[in-house]
C-alpha cells in the first residue's frame, strides 16, 4: 500500500531508482572493507560490522578512507551484483560520489529531515533519484 508511505524530498547525485530494506550506517564507510561475495561489512568496530549492504537501501553518513580502494570496493560489489539498490548520503564527499558515478549506483543527498531520524534498519524505502524523492514505510 503506497498511501502508508511517508514522502521526502531529496537531491539527485547519480540518476536511477531502487527500493528495498534499509540498512543505516551512522559511521562513514570504506566499501573496500566489505566482502564482495556477500556485501557484508568486515571493518572491525564499525557501526554495521557484520551486516550486508547488498541490494539494500543504504543510509550512510559519508565515505572515508583511501581514494582508490573505495573505487575498487564499488567495482567489486558491482560486478557481483551486490551493490546497494540506492544510497542516501548524509554528508557528501567527492570520492564516494565519483565511485558511484563510475558504476551507476543511484545516489541522493539533502534528504528533507535527518535521514538517521527518519529511517531505521528494516524500514522499506523507495528512492527515485530522478524525481528527487524518497518514500519510507516504517517496519511494522
Amino acid at each position: 500500500m503506497a498511501d502508508d508511505m511517508k514522502v521526502y524530498k531529496c537531491r539527485k547525485i547519480v540518476k536511477g531508482s531502487g527500493c528495498g530494506e534499509a540498512v543505516v550506517s551512522t559511521d562513514a564507510m570504506c566499501f573496500y572493507l566489505t566482502d564482495p561475495q556477500t556485501g557484508v561489512v568486515i571493518e572491525r568496530n564499525h557501526a554495521i560490522h557484520g551486516k550486508s549492504i547488498a541490494n539494500k537501501i543504504l543510509v550512510l553518513k559519508s565515505g572515508k578512507g583511501s581514494s582508490v580502494v573505495q573505487v575498487d570496493g564499488f567495482y567489486q560489489l558491482w560486478v557481483k551484483n551486490n551493490l546497494p539498490k540506492a544510497i542516501i548520503l548524509r554528508d557528501t564527499e567527492p570520492v564516494i560520489v565519483s565511485s558511484a558515478v563510475m558504476v551507476g549506483c543511484p545516489m541522493v543527498d539533502r534528504m528533507e529531515g535527518d535521514p538517521f531520524a527518519e529511517i531505521k534498519d528494516g524500514d522499506y524505502v523507495e528512492v527515485d533519484a530522478d524525481k528527487g524523492e524518497i518514500k519510507v514505510r516504517k517496519k511494522s
Partner: protein
C-alpha cells in the same frame, strides 16, 4: 554550472567517448558540489592501484580514445620483474598488473609509481590549483604545502588529467580552506610514528572537517612527519586539509587559521595518554611474526638510513621477511651509496614502485605481520593478514627476535 562551448562539445561526445566519460565525471562532481565552472590545472596525481576498479576506468577511457592533456604522476602497484623472483602470483593477478601498466602508459601517465608525490616526485607550489588523489597525498599538499586540491578519487583525478581541468569547488576556494575545529595537543612528538598516531586520533575527531592543531610545545615536523600525520588522518577520517598554528603556511596565527571567524573552544585535548590509549586499541596483537613491512606511505632515503642505524649490525631472524617499500629514487640512491647492499647483508630487502596492498604479498597471509603504519594494517586486513603496529625501533627488535612480545 557554466561550461564553455568546447567543454559542452566534449560532454556531448564531440571529441570521442573517452573524453566524454572523463567530462561526465567532472560535470557530475561539479553539479554535486555546486561548482560554478571548471578551472585549468597543470598538475595531477592518480592513485593507481592495480586493482580491477581503477584499471577498468583507465581502460574505459583509453578504449574511448582519451589521452591526458596533463600527464598525471601515479601511485605504485608492484614491481612485477623483481618480486616474482621471490613470490608467486596467479596468472590472473599477473595479467591484471600488466593490464594496469599498459592502460596507464596508453593514456599518457607519468609512471612514477610513488604514493607521496608532494614529498618529491610531483611537488606543487603554494596556492597552485591541482587535482591529487591518494588519501595521504591530499592532506600533505593542502596542509603542509598550501597547494589546492580536493579529496579526489583515483578516477576523478584521471578524468582531470585527461581534460586538464577540475571543478572549482571545495578546497580550491579560500573560505573552504579555513579551520572549523580546534584541537589542542599537549604531547611529546618524538618521531613520525607519533605523528601517525596523532593523525589517527585527529581523523576520528575531525571526520571531513578542517582541523586546526594548537601545540602546547614547539614542534618542527619534517616531510615524513607531515606524511604520517596526513595518511592516518585520512584513514580514520576523511581529512583533506589541516592547519598547525605557527607551522603550516596558511596558519601563521590562530586567527589566520580560522580566517577571522570566531575561534571555537577546543573539541579535544590530545595528550601523551590519549596517544598511548589510541596506540593500545590499534596494537593489541602479539606473538610470532613472519613479516615486517615498512613503507606505507613510501619510505624516504632518511628513513632507510634510520633502519640501518637501529639494526646496529644485528641480523633479521630467519623466520621473518623484512621489506622496505620505498620511492624508486630513494631505492636507486640506496643502491648507489651501497646502503641497499649493507641492509641486504642484515636480511633487510627493499623494493621500489610497490604498494603493501598487492597480491605479491599473499604468501604471508594467515600469520601475524608487523608494521609502523596503522594505514598498512587497516588495508591489509581485507587481504587476510592481521598486523601489529609498533614504532620503528620496536619493529627492528621484533624482527631480530622473530617475535613481538
Amino acid at each position: 554550472m557554466y561550461l564553455t562551448d568546447e567543454e559542452k562539445r566534449i560532454l556531448d561526445g564531440g571529441e570521442g567517448p573517452g573524453k566524454q566519460k572523463a567530462m561526465e565525471m567532472l560535470y557530475a562532481l561539479g553539479l554535486t558540489f555546486d561548482a560554478e565552472k571548471l578551472i585549468p590545472i597543470k598538475r595531477a596525481h592518480v592513485a593507481l592501484s592495480g586493482q580491477e576498479g581503477d584499471t577498468y576506468w583507465c581502460e574505459l577511457l583509453v578504449s574511448g580514445g582519451a589521452t591526458c592533456a596533463v600527464p598525471p604522476t601515479t601511485n605504485p602497484y608492484w614491481d612485477t620483474d623483481y618480486l616474482t623472483k621471490f613470490y608467486d602470483v596467479t596468472p590472473e593477478e599477473f595479467d591484471l598488473a600488466k593490464r594496469t601498466g599498459d592502460a596507464y602508459r596508453k593514456i599518457g601517465a607519468k609512471l612514477t609509481y610513488h604514493c607521496a608525490p608532494g614529498v618529491c616526485t610531483n611537488v606543487p607550489f603554494f596556492g597552485e590549483h591541482i587535482a591529487f588523489s591518494e588519501s595521504s597525498a591530499t592532506p600533505y599538499v593542502n596542509g603542509a604545502l598550501g597547494a589546492r586540491s580536493n579529496r579526489e578519487s583515483s578516477i576523478s583525478a584521471l578524468a582531470a588529467g585527461v581534460i586538464g581541468k577540475t571543478p572549482y569547488y571545495g578546497l580550491h576556494i579560500d573560505e573552504n580552506r579555513r579551520g572549523d575545529l580546534l584541537i589542542e595537543v599537549d604531547a611529546d612528538m618524538k618521531e613520525c610514528y607519533d605523528w601517525g598516531i596523532l593523525g589517527y586520533c585527529v581523523g576520528r575527531i575531525a571526520g571531513s572537517h578542517n582541523p586546526v592543531l594548537k601545540f602546547r610545545n614547539k614542534v618542527t615536523p619534517g616531510p615524513e612527519d607531515f606524511l604520517y600525520f596526513g595518511a592516518e588522518a585520512a584513514t580514520s577520517g576523511a581529512v583533506a586539509m589541516y592547519h598547525m598554528i605557527g607551522v603550516t603556511p596558511e596558519a601563521p596565527t590562530i586567527e589566520a587559521a580560522f580566517g577571522g571567524k570566531k575561534i571555537p573552544t577546543a573539541a579535544a585535548v590530545i595528550t601523551d595518554k590519549t596517544l598511548a590509549d589510541e596506540e593500545a586499541t590499534l596494537t593489541a596483537n602479539t606473538g610470532d611474526i613472519n613479516l615486517v613491512m615498512l613503507g606505507c606511505p613510501h619510505y624516504t632515503y632518511s628513513q632507510m638510513l634510520e633502519v640501518e642505524r637501529l639494526f646496529k649490525d644485528r641480523h633479521v631472524s630467519n623466520s621473518v621477511a623484512f621489506w622496505i617499500l620505498g620511492e624508486s629514487g630513494a631505492v636507486e640512491l640506496a643502491e648507489r651509496s651501497h646502503l641497499r647492499q649493507r641492509l641486504e647483508l642484515l636480511g633487510v630487502r627493499m623494493v621500489g614502485d610497490t604498494c603493501i596492498d598487492e597480491p605479491c604479498w599473499k604468501s604471508f597471509e594467515g600469520h601475524l605481520g608487523l608494521t609502523d603504519s596503522p594505514k598498512c594494517a587497516y588495508y591489509r586486513e581485507r587481504r587476510g593478514q592481521p598486523f601489529a603496529i609498533r614504532r620503528l625501533s620496536d619493529c627492528v627488535e621484533a624482527a631480530i627476535k622473530g617475535r613481538l612480545d
